[in-house]
Symmetry: C2
Subunit: 123 residues, 2 copies
């Protein structure tokens, strides 16, 4: 997918799905992947013991609840949750985000549970 | 910088500089960095022997000249130039991009020369 000679249009990719809390892979850079997701409501508290995690908001508004306080991101804003830092994403309105992290990073990190879901590949 | 409790606003960061072809680091994720740059005109043909390189256009229009043909990106479009693939960015109008690649990746790759410049850190 990352060898394709055509650009990846984020808006076009977002138009291809509507399910919430389901990561969609749109590109790969070395052993990292670029994913999109649509969020609404609250996720689960978790952390990633082996990696930082980058959130970039495309539309809507995302709050990353952290144990030391919240960080709220609007469109065009990004935040890197450091490795090992507990966080819980929450979005009052439907929010589209871009994620950047290593291939194989679990969406629920150390928490596991019913909301764990591997990313899907968008054609 | 990636441990800051405040989000990184891409537009605010872009407003902090006007020099062309000078990468500005705005965040770090593990041993990868997120950088911004403003481009106009043509760069130099080069490749990165050790890494892929991600280009995301924020504003303007970027053409990545490749030996097999060109890829043109508008706002919200990204492309990953694979490791070892020669490319030469060119922008007819001033264009703002976000780059994602490993810390230490040279802007001119294997070509070197007078346009080689280490990234600066935006406060």
């Amino acid at each position: 997918m990352n060898n394709s000679p055509v650009p990846v249009n984020i808006a076009d990719k977002l138009a291809q799905f509507s399910d919430l809390w389901s990561q969609k892979k749109i590109a790969q850079l070395n052993d990292y992947e670029v994913k999109l997701a649509k969020l609404k409501g609250e996720f689960v508290w978790h952390k990633h013991d082996d990696t930082d995690e980058l959130f970039l908001v495309i539309s809507g508004r995302l709050t990353l609840q952290l144990r030391d306080g919240d960080v709220t991101l609007g469109p065009g804003e990004l935040y890197v949750v450091p490795q090992g830092v507990e966080h819980c994403p929450v979005a009052d309105e439907e929010t589209a985000i871009l994620l950047f992290e290593p291939v194989g990073t679990s969406n629920t990190g150390d928490a596991g549970g019913s909301r764990t879901k591997a990313p899907e590949i968008l054609s």
